[in-house]
Assembly symmetry: C2
Homo-oligomer: 187 residues x 2
């Protein structure tokens, strides 16, 4: 879920996603990525450990940003509202246009081992949010359920956003998914 940052790192990411889409993930070499980005392999390895890392490099920063947003959420919000406000803050990192995240997701969805890694990152995000809710005084069970629900809402909102044809915003898609979750869970 990396943003197109300016400079070498962003050029390498963009080149990698283009090549993954054109040739497939396995068929793409680091040398080809560097060439497409008009940079050297040496520069590539200053930014990323390997080509897989290009896909996941942004996720730790994203999780930190979400944790910070949760810490800053107003005290009077419910656990779930605070958690969803925090995952909505992902829009500030992922940027306004879904083309990059959509290309990244296409590569991940096509490779079971990358989907597993993504899944583990999402489980890590649940744990980070549950921890943050705990620091707000939410009891452990409620924190864990609110965190799992917020991440389910994030995943659905994100998926809709990258598929949307109408220019919907990521935070708008997340908010709409929360409304649906509440409809589904209403007793």
């Amino acid at each position: 879920m990396g943003r197109w940052v300016p400079g070498a790192r962003g050029r390498l990411q963009r080149a990698a996603f283009e090549l993954f889409a054109e040739r497939g993930f396995e068929q793409t070499t680091v040398a080809e990525i560097a060439t497409r980005a008009e940079l050297t392999e040496r520069t590539f390895f200053r930014h990323f450990a390997d080509k897989r890392e290009v896909l996941f490099a942004g996720q730790d920063a994203l999780a930190e940003h979400i944790a910070a947003a949760l810490a800053d959420a107003p005290d009077d919000l419910s656990a779930l509202d605070a958690a969803v406000l925090a995952v909505e803050a992902s829009a500030e990192i992922l940027g306004g246009h879904p083309a990059g995240p959509r290309a990244r997701q296409a590569v991940i969805d096509a490779h079971p081992e990358l989907r597993e890694r993504e899944l583990i990152k999402m489980e890590g995000l649940v744990a980070i949010i549950a921890e943050g809710l705990g620091r707000r005084g939410v009891p452990a069970a409620a924190a864990s359920l609110a965190a799992a629900s917020a991440v389910a809402v994030f995943r659905m909102g994100f998926e809709r956003w990258i598929r949307a044809e109408d220019g919907a915003s990521l935070d708008g898609c997340i908010r709409a998914a929360l409304v649906e979750l509440r409809a589904v869970t209403a007793g």
Copy 2:
């Protein structure tokens, strides 16, 4: 989440869990498991591909049982109530006493690569439940959110059940987690 079935398979599982707990997962060999169960290695390999398989052999049967319970759930239940009724049916497979599942979970929790495999199985369960809800006419987004919620409720109920000191039942723990989920998600 295997039950103690009678016969060789159950003896091998019990012997394996005992040895994993005593010596650690890596330090235990198939030969030791067979010896403890008073069986041969050959018999072990008729039942399991490797020692890791002992831990996960029951999960596909469990998922099938849950899918069947979902198909049988009364038509007038909401998507979430049907999905939770289905995961409650796991109690029929996992049996009445949490000692076996607790020993299994202790091994898994101690090994990141086993936790990843467990996580992937849980994601598979979400997909199976979402599919089953789709066959009941639930729209895709609601099916996906209800399935994710039901599995979150299952995981919390299961965890409480294996830690419970008071002989609480698995389905009772799952039902209690559903009540908490509804409290957390209420608008």
